[in-house]
Symmetry: C3
Subunit: 441 residues, 3 copies
C-alpha cells in the first residue's frame, strides 16, 4: 500500500501531466482558426478576402468572450436541467468566474471547451461568404457562442438528456462539425445566393475562389490542428485508480485514436478524388483537399470506438459523398454554400455518427446490440439538426426581415472588402471583372 | 517520509516533464518567426517582399548564433554586476559552452531564452521596411543579439538591479515587445521615411501592403505561438517541495495565464476595431489583426498576476490605443513605422506594464500597496526605454553617418528585392507602378 | 527497494509521458507536409501550383495507407532478414494490424515512423515538378511507401545489416532526406527537364517560381516541424532503469540535440548566403531559405553525437555546398531538379553522415577510432544511395517506356493545373506567358 505522501506526490504528477497535454492540444485546436481563415479566404473572390479574414478574426475575438461570460454557464445549466443532474444557475457562472483555489484546471478546461465552440462558430462564415453583412454575421456569432452551441453541448457532453440516452460523439463530429455545417447551410439558404450564382433557368455558374494555394494551406493547417482536436480529446493521459495507483487514463486507447484519425483523413482524400475523377475525368485539387477534411469529420465522432478497417470505410464514404452532396446542394437545393461547409462538416459528420453502430468495436465484440447503439445516434442527430436549423433560421430570418442580413447589390458587386472594410486585399495586383462568374453546366 | 530511491525517481519525473514542456513551448515561440515573416511581408509592397523575408531569415540565423556565443553570457554578467549576485566573467560563457554533465537542461534553457531574444530582434525589421540597407539591418541585429537585448534581460530576468527593485515582467511585455517596438521606432526615425510617404506640407500618403491575406495569416501564427510565449513562461509545471514532495510548480497559476492570454487577445481585437470604426465608419481588417496582437502584448507582462476582468480591460485599452498611437506617430511625429511595430509592441507593452498596479491581484487582495507596485514599473519602463532608444540611435546614427543606413533613391524606387537580392518575388504577376502611394488626408 | 505497486505506478507515468512526447512531435512532423507543400508550390510556375499541391495531398493520403498496410511490415521483415534477428513474415503485419491489448503504443510508434516515411516520399515531388504525370508520381509513391523506403529503414533502424555494421543515422539525414533527395534527382533525370529549361548549346534558362513568399513560409514551417523531427527523435524522455528506478531516458542528451539543431540551421542559412553572395554579389533569398534547410539536413544524422562547434561547421558546409551542387546538377548534369531537392536533402544529408567521424564526441573523447566510425558511414551511404537510385530508375524507367512518365508537350505548355486537374490556381490574376523562361548564363 502506498503512503499518503506518495499518493499526494503522484497525484501532482498526474495533474501536471494532464494539464500539459490539454494545454498543448488546445493550442493546436486554436491554430485551426488560421486553417479556417486560409481555407475560406482561398475559396472566395479576391474582392471579398479581407471580409472573410475579418469575420474569422472577429468570430474568435467576440465569440470567446461571449463563451466565457455566458456560453459555458449556459451549457452547464442545460446539461443539468435536461439530464437530471444537480446544478445551480448562479453557480454555473461563478464556478467559472472564480473557481475554487484548489482547482488549477478550471480555466484550462474552459479553454479546451472554448476552442471547440469557436470551431463550430467559424464554420458558418464559409457558407455565407461574399454577401452576408458583417453585423448580421457577428450578431449570429454572439448568439451561437452564448446560446445555440452551448445548448447542444448541454444536451450531450454537459450531461444532458442525449448523453443520458447514450448518444455518442467522441470529439464533436456532430456536436461541433455537423452543428456548424447545418448552421452554415441554413444561413446560406436564408440570406440567398450571391448575385449571378444561379441563372433564371436553374443552371449554375461557378464562381471560383481566388487562391488554391491558400485553400490547401488552410487544409493542411486544419489537419495539423485536428490531431489536437481528435487525439487531444483523449484528454487525461494519466489517471489515479480507485486504489490510488497511477494508470494510463484515456491514453489506453490513444494509439487507436491517432491511427483512426490518420487513416480517416487519408481515405477521405482518396474517396473524394475518386468520385470527382469519375464525374469529370480529372483530379480536382479542391475536392482532394476538402475530401481530406471530410474524412477527418467523418471519424471525429467515433475515433476511439472503431478500429482501422472502420476508419478506412468511414473515411472513404465521407470523402465520396462530398462531390455528390455538394452537387445536390448546389443544383437541387440551389443553395450557395460558398466553401462547401455542409458537405464537408455537415453531411460527413452525420454520416460518421450514423456509421457508429456498423463500425463500433462494441458491436463486433458482441458487447452491445446494433439497435442499442443506433437509436441514440439517430435521435441525437435529429435533435441537434432540428435545434441548429431552427435557431439559425430564426436569427438570420430576423436579420433578413430587418433588411440587415446581406449587403446591397452595389456593395456585393464592388466587393465586401471595399464596402464593409474600406480596404483592398491585393492593391498591387490586377482587379477582377465584376461578376467573376463563368458558366458551368 | 520518502525513501532516497523514490526521491530520485520523482526528481527524474519532474525534470523530464519540465524539459518536455519547455521544449514544446520553445518550438511554438520559434514558429512566431513564420508569423512575423508573413505579417511583415504582407504589409510591405510587392517589390520589397523578398527583402523583408530575407531579413527575417537572417535575423534568426545570425542572431541566434551571436546570442549563443556572446549574448547569453553578457546577460549573465550584466545581471550579476548590477544586481549584486556573484558571477564570473569567464564562467558566464563557459557554463554555456560546456555545461556540467549533470545539467541536462542548460542548453534547453538557453534555447528558451534565445527564442525570446529573437522575437525582440525581428520586431525591428518591420519598422524599417522598404528602405533600410541589408547590411545595416544585419549589423544592428548582431549588436542587438549580442549586447542591447542582453543588457535588458541582465537588468531584469537575469537578476540585475531592476529585478532587485521589484520590476515585474512575466513574459516580456516590456523586456521583449516594448524593447523591440521602441528600437523599431528609433530606427525608423533615424533612417527617415520611405520616399513619397510624407508630403512637403506635412500631409501623409498611405502606402498599402501587398497582401492582407499574408498579414492575417502571420497574425494568427503569432497568436498560436503566443500561447507558447505566455503560457510557456509558466516554465516549471512540476516542482519538488523543500520536503522532497512533488507539487505543481508554475502550473498552479497556468489556468489564469491561459485565460488572461485568451481574453487579452480577444479584447485587443475588439478595442482596435471599435476605435477604428469610430474614426472611419468601417471595420479595418488590419486594425483588427494588429489589435489582437496589441491585446496580447498588453497582457504579456502581467499574465499571471491579474484575473479576467483585468485581462479584458488591459486588452481593450491596448487595442484601443493602437489606431490613436499609430496616427500620432504618423501624423505628428512623421515617422514611417511601416508595420506599426511601435503601437503594437511598444506602447501596448508599456501600457500593460504600467497597468500592473491597477490590475494586480496583490493590490486588490491588500497584499501590496499601489505605490510599491507602481514605482518599480515606472522605473523599469523608463530605464529600458532610455537604454533601447540610446543604443539604437547610436548604432543607426553611425550607419547613417557612414552613408550605409538606407539604400539609394534609385534602389528604393526599383524595390529592394531587385537591388539587394536580385530576385522578383512574384515574377508572373503584374508589376506595380513605382510610387505606390495614394493620398490620404 | 521499491514496492511492486510503486513500480507499476511509475511505469505508467513513464509510459504516459513518453507517449505524450511522441504524439506531440509526430504532429509537428506531420505539419512538415504543409511546409513542403508551400515550399514547392512557391518554387513552381503559377500554371503548375495546383498540381504540386495535389501531389502533396496525395503523397500523404495514398502513402500513409500503403505504409500501414504494407510498408511497416516490409521494414520489419527486411530488418529481421538482413540483421539476423528473429522475425515472422505474418507477424510483421499482424502485430500492427492487431497489436496485443497491452501495447498501447504500437500504433503511436507506427505513426511516428509513418511521418518520417512520408517526408521521404514528398521530397521527390519537388524534383519532378511541372512535367511528371500524376499517375506516374502516385504510382511511384505507392512503391516508395510500400517497398523502397521500408527496405532502407529495414537495413538500418529496423535492425538490419547496416545497423549491425554500426551505421549511424540519428533522425534520418540519410535514411529520410538523402534517400528522398537521391530519389528525386534520379526521377528528374529519367523523365527529363521541363521544356525550354536547357538550350541546344547547353546553356541554361532559369524558370523562376511564382511566389517567394510561399516558399519562405514553407521553409519556416519546415524548420518548425524539424524541431519535432530531430528533437523528437529523442523519443523516450523517461526510462525505467534495470533496477526499476525512473531516470531520464533520451532526454539526457536532449539539450545537445536542441542546440545542434538550432545552430546547424542557422549556420546553413549563413553558409548558403555567403557562397551565393560571393558568386553573384547579392544575397539570394531562396538560397538563404534553402540553406537553412540544408543546414538542418546536415546535422540530422548526427544531432545527438556532436556538440556545438561541430554543428556550426557541418551547418556552414551544408549551406555552402548548396549553390555549388545546385549549379553542378544544373549546368554539368543538365538535370532539372526544380526545387533543388538534391542539394538540399541529398548532398547535405550525405555530407552530414560522412562528417560524423570528424565531429563525433566519441572520436574526440578517444572512445572510438576514426575508421571504426567512418567505414560504416561510407558503406551505409553507398548502399542506401545505390538502392534508392536503382529502385527509382527502374520504376520511372518503366513509366517512361510505357509513355506514362510525363505529360504531353501541349499539356506542359498549358500547365498541369489545367490539363491534369481542370483548375486554375489564381483565376483572377494575370496569366503568365507560356514559356516563363528567361536566359541566364
Amino acid at each position: 500500500m502506498l503512503s499518503a505522501t506518495l499518493q499526494s506526490d503522484l497525484s501532482a504528477v498526474v495533474q501536471g501531466v494532464n494539464l500539459m497535454w490539454v494545454l498543448m492540444v488546445t493550442f493546436l485546436i486554436f491554430f485551426m482558426h488560421a486553417g479556417f481563415a486560409m481555407l475560406e479566404a482561398g475559396q472566395v473572390r479576391s474582392k471579398n478576402v479581407a471580409n472573410q479574414l475579418t469575420k474569422n478574426l472577429l468570430t474568435w475575438s467576440v465569440g470567446v468572450i461571449v463563451f466565457f461570460l455566458v456560453g459555458a454557464g449556459v451549457s452547464t445549466i442545460v446539461g443539468g436541467a435536461t439530464g437530471g443532474g444537480s446544478y445551480s444557475v448562479v453557480g454555473a457562472f461563478t464556478d467559472l468566474y472564480a473557481p475554487e483555489a484548489g482547482s488549477a484546471g478550471a480555466w484550462v478546461n474552459w479553454l479546451f471547451g472554448a476552442v471547440f465552440a469557436m470551431t463550430a462558430a467559424t464554420i458558418v462564415s464559409g457558407a455565407v461568404a461574399g454577401r452576408a453583412k458583417l453585423r448580421a454575421y457577428v450578431g449570429y456569432t454572439i448568439l451561437l457562442a452564448g446560446v445555440i452551441y452551448p445548448v447542444v453541448t448541454g444536451f450531450t457532453w454537459g450531461g444532458g438528456f442525449l448523453d443520458a440516452l447514450g448518444f455518442y460523439d467522441f470529439a464533436g463530429g456532430v456536436i461541433v462539425h455537423a452543428m456548424g455545417g447545418i448552421a452554415g447551410l441554413t444561413a446560406a439558404w436564408i440570406i440567398g445566393p450571391r448575385m449571378n450564382r444561379f441563372n433564371d433557368d436553374g443552371s449554375v455558374n461557378v464562381i471560383p475562389g481566388h487562391s488554391m494555394t491558400f485553400a490547401v494551406l488552410g487544409t493542411l493547417i486544419l489537419a495539423f490542428g485536428w490531431y489536437g482536436f481528435n487525439v487531444g480529446t483523449s484528454a487525461s493521459p494519466l489517471a489515479l485508480s480507485d486504489s490510488g495507483e497511477v494508470v494510463l487514463g484515456s491514453f489506453q486507447t490513444v494509439g487507436r485514436v491517432a491511427l483512426v484519425t490518420t487513416l480517416g483523413m487519408a481515405a477521405g482524400a482518396i474517396g473524394a478524388a475518386a468520385v470527382a475523377t469519375y464525374k469529370t475525368g480529372k483530379v480536382d485539387t479542391l475536392y482532394v483537399a476538402n475530401g481530406l477534411l471530410a474524412g477527418l469529420v467523418g471519424v471525429t465522432s467515433v475515433t476511439d470506438v472503431i478500429v482501422w478497417p472502420g476508419a478506412l470505410a468511414i473515411g472513404l464514404l465521407a470523402g465520396a459523398q462530398l462531390p455528390i452532396v455538394f452537387e445536390f446542394v448546389e443544383k437541387r437545393l440551389q443553395i450557395d454554400d460558398v466553401c462547401a461547409v455542409f458537405p464537408v462538416h455537415g453531411s460527413a459528420g452525420i454520416l460518421g455518427a450514423l456509421a457508429y453502430p456498423f463500425a463500433a468495436t462494441a458491436f463486433w465484440n458482441g458487447n452491445a446490440s446494433f439497435l442499442s447503439l443506433a437509436i441514440p445516434q439517430v435521435v441525437g442527430v435529429v435533435v441537434i439538426a432540428v435545434w441548429t436549423f431552427a435557431a439559425t433560421a430564426l436569427v438570420f430570418g430576423a436579420f433578413r426581415a430587418a433588411g440587415q442580413a446581406r449587403v446591397s447589390n452595389e456593395h456585393e458587386l464592388e466587393g465586401l472588402d471595399s464596402s464593409e472594410h474600406g480596404v483592398d486585399t491585393y492593391p498591387e495586383f490586377g482587379r477582377p471583372d465584376e461578376s467573376g462568374a463563368r458558366v458551368d453546366g
